[in-house]
C-alpha cells in the first residue's frame, strides 16, 4: 500500500475547507430558511452564546476536563498495573479476565446510578464512572503488547544471560509501547464520554457544574445556543485529548514504529 504523499498544507487545508463549507451552508440554511433559534441556532449565534456565557461555560469546561483527566490518569495507572498482573501468569488472566470484560460490556449508564449512590463525593463518583469506561482499551492493549515480544529477541536476551529485570526494561516495555499508545488514544476519548455520560446520569444530584449539566439545563430552559456552545466545547475537548495522545505517541515512538512512520523514513 503506497499511499500518495500529499503536501502538508493540503492535508491541513482540505479538512479546513470542508469545515468552512459546512459552516457556511449551515449559516445560509438557518438564516434563509428562517429556522427558529430554539431549533437550530446559526453558527454565529452559537459563538455569541459561547462568548456571553463564557464565565459559566468556562467553569463547566474546567470541571469536565478535571474529571476526564483524573479518570484518564487513573485508568492509565490501573490499566497498566492490571495488565502487568495478568501477564505474570496465564492462571491469573484466565481467572480474572472474564470479569474485566463483564465490567466493560455492562453499559456505564446502568452502573452509574449505583456508584453515585455509593460514593458520597460527587466528583469521585464521576471519576470512577469515567475510569471504568476508559480502562479496558489500556488493559487489553497493554496485555497484547507485553505478550507480543519477538521470540527471537527473547532468545537473544537469554543467550546473553539477561536478568528478568533487563528483559522487562529493555525488551517487554519497549515492545509494548505502540500497543499501549494505541490504547491510550482510544481511552482518552472514552474518558471524556464516561465523564459526560456519568454527569448526565447524576443530573442535578451530581456536582452540578460540568458541561453535561449545562447541556441538561440549557435543554430544560430551551436555551439552545448555549446548549450548542457546550456541545462545541465537549467536541473540542475530545479533539484536543486525541491530539494530545497522538502527540505523546509520536514523541515516544516517533522514529521507529510503523504507525508513526513518515515518508522521510523510506528504506534506503
Amino acid at each position: 500500500m503506497n499511499e500518495r504523499a500529499y503536501p502538508r498544507w493540503l492535508r491541513l487545508a482540505a479538512p479546513g475547507l470542508v469545515g468552512l463549507a459546512t459552516l457556511l451552508a449551515w449559516h445560509l440554511i438557518v438564516t434563509l430558511g428562517q429556522v427558529p433559534v430554539y431549533l437550530v441556532p446559526a453558527p454565529l449565534v452559537v459563538l455569541g452564546a459561547l462568548a456571553s456565557d463564557w464565565a459559566l461555560l468556562g467553569a463547566s469546561l474546567l470541571v469536565t476536563l478535571k474529571i476526564t483527566l483524573l479518570a484518564l490518569g487513573l485508568a492509565l495507572v490501573l490499566g497498566v498495573l492490571v495488565a502487568f498482573l495478568f501477564v505474570q501468569s496465564r492462571l491469573i488472566e484466565l481467572s480474572l479476565f472474564p470479569y474485566v470484560v463483564l465490567v466493560q460490556v455492562t453499559p456505564i449508564v446502568a452502573i452509574a446510578p449505583l456508584i453515585i449512590i455509593w460514593v458520597k463525593d460527587p466528583t469521585a463518583a464521576l471519576v470512577i464512572c469515567a475510569t471504568i469506561v476508559a480502562l479496558f482499551p489500556i488493559v487489553s492493549n497493554t496485555i497484547v503488547g507485553l505478550r507480543s515480544v519477538d521470540p527471537g529477541l527473547v532468545d537473544l536476551f537469554r543467550l546473553h544471560h539477561a536478568s528478568r529485570w533487563q528483559v522487562l526494561l529493555r525488551l517487554r516495555i519497549p515492545s509494548c509501547l505502540p500497543y499501549f499508545f494505541a490504547g491510550l488514544r482510544v481511552s482518552s476519548g472514552l474518558a471524556l464520554i464516561g465523564a459526560v455520560v456519568a454527569e448526565f446520569v447524576a443530573g442535578t444530584g451530581g456536582t452540578g457544574s460540568g458541561l453535561a449539566y449545562q447541556i441538561l439545563m440549557s435543554g430544560l430552559q430551551l436555551n439552545i445556543p448555549r446548549l450548542f456552545a457546550a456541545l462545541l466545547l465537549i467536541a473540542a475537548t475530545g479533539v484536543v485529548l486525541f491530539l494530545g495522545a497522538s502527540l505523546l505517541a509520536r514523541l515516544a515512538l516517533g522514529r521507529w514504529h510503523e504507525s508513526e512512520m513518515r515518508n522521510e523514513y523510506e528504506p534506503r
Partner: protein, 262 residues
C-alpha cells in the same frame, strides 16, 4: 559417522562435543534422534538437510537455548561465549543500529567508553560505520543482517551459530554476504556452525558439511571441502565445486528419502 573428521589428526580437543543428544518436544514431536558431533576449533561447519529435520533444534541445543531430552553437549572452557545469528535479523526496532549492536555489551555491563569503541569497530567490520545512527527500518534486508552479524561478533565469541541467516535475501545480496562472512572468519580462531538449505552455499563456505536426515533428525554423512582459504572467486564456478555439489546433492536426496515428507 564422520569418517572425514576421523582422518584429520588433531592435537586439541574439540570445541564442542555433542554426545547422544536427542530432543523430543512437549507434545511428542521427535525432532532429533541421538546425535554425536564434534565441532573442531576454528572450523566452518555447515549443517544441511530437508526442512523440519531438526537443524535449528540442534543449533539451539548447542547454544543452550534448548535443553536436550537425552545426552550431553560439552563445551570446552574457552567457548562459553556463544553468539547466534537468526534467520531474520531480529533487531530491536526502537533502537538505533549502534544501540542494537551494543546490546550484548549492555547486558553484560560493559562500561560506556569501551562499548562505544567496540561498537564502532564491529560496525566497521561489516561495513556499516556510517549507519550507526540509522534505525533498522531504514535499512535494507542485507544491511539489517549485517547489523545482526556485527551484534553477534561484538562479544568476541569463540563459537558463532548461524541459522539460515541469508535464506530470506536475494541471490546477489546473499552472494555478497557469503563472501564477506568468509572474509570475517578467515584467519581468525572463530568457529562457525552454519545452517543452510543451499547446497552451493554449503560447499562455498565450509570446511565440512554434515547432512541430516528427515525427521526425526540424525546425522547421516559428512563431506569435507579441502579447498584452501581465502577461496578464489572462481571456486564457485569451478569443476571441483560442481563435483562437490553433486556429491552433496546425492547425499541430500538420500537423506530426504529416508523420512516421511518430501
Amino acid at each position: 559417522m564422520n569418517s572425514c573428521a576421523e582422518q584429520v589428526v588433531r592435537t586439541e580437543a574439540p570445541l564442542v562435543r555433542v554426545r547422544q543428544v536427542s530432543k523430543t518436544f512437549r507434545g511428542g514431536v521427535r525432532a532429533l534422534d541421538p546425535v554425536d558431533l564434534d565441532i573442531e576449533r576454528g572450523e566452518f561447519l555447515t549443517l544441511i538437510g530437508p526442512s523440519g529435520c531438526g537443524k535449528s533444534t540442534l543449533l539451539r541445543l548447542i547454544a543452550g537455548l534448548v535443553t536436550p531430552s537425552g545426552g550431553r553437549v560439552d563445551v570446552a572452557a574457552g567457548a562459553s561465549r556463544r553468539a547466534f545469528v537468526f534467520q531474520t535479523p531480529t533487531l530491536m526496532p526502537w533502537a538505533s543500529v549502534a544501540d542494537n549492536v551494543r546490546l550484548p555489551l549492555d547486558l553484560e555491563g560493559t562500561t560506556a567508553p569501551e562499548a562505544r569503541e567496540r561498537v564502532a569497530a564491529a560496525l566497521a567490520r561489516v561495513g556499516l560505520q556510517e549507519f550507526s545512527r540509522a534505525y533498522p527500518r531504514e535499512l535494507s534486508g542485507g544491511m539489517q543482517m549485517r547489523v545482526s552479524i556485527a551484534r553477534a561478533l561484538i562479544t568476541d565469541p569463540a563459537l558463532l551459530l548461524m541459522d539460515e541467516p541469508f535464506a530470506a535475501l536475494d541471490e546477489i545480496t546473499r552472494a555478497r554476504l557469503d563472501r564477506d562472512l568468509l572474509g570475517l572468519w578467515t584467519g581468525t580462531p572463530l568457529t562457525v556452525v552454519f545452517v543452510t538449505h543451499s547446497i552451493s552455499e554449503a560447499v562455498l563456505l565450509s570446511n565440512r558439511v554434515v547432512v541430516m536426515s528427515a525427521r526425526p533428525g540424525r546425522l547421516l554423512d559428512a563431506i569435507r571441502v579441502d579447498e584452501p582459504y581465502p577461496r578464489e572467486r572462481g571456486f564457485a564456478l569451478s569443476e571441483r565445486h560442481a563435483r562437490l555439489c553433486a556429491q552433496l546433492g546425492g547425499l541430500l536426496e538420500a537423506a530426504s528419502g529416508a523420512g516421511p515428507d518430501e
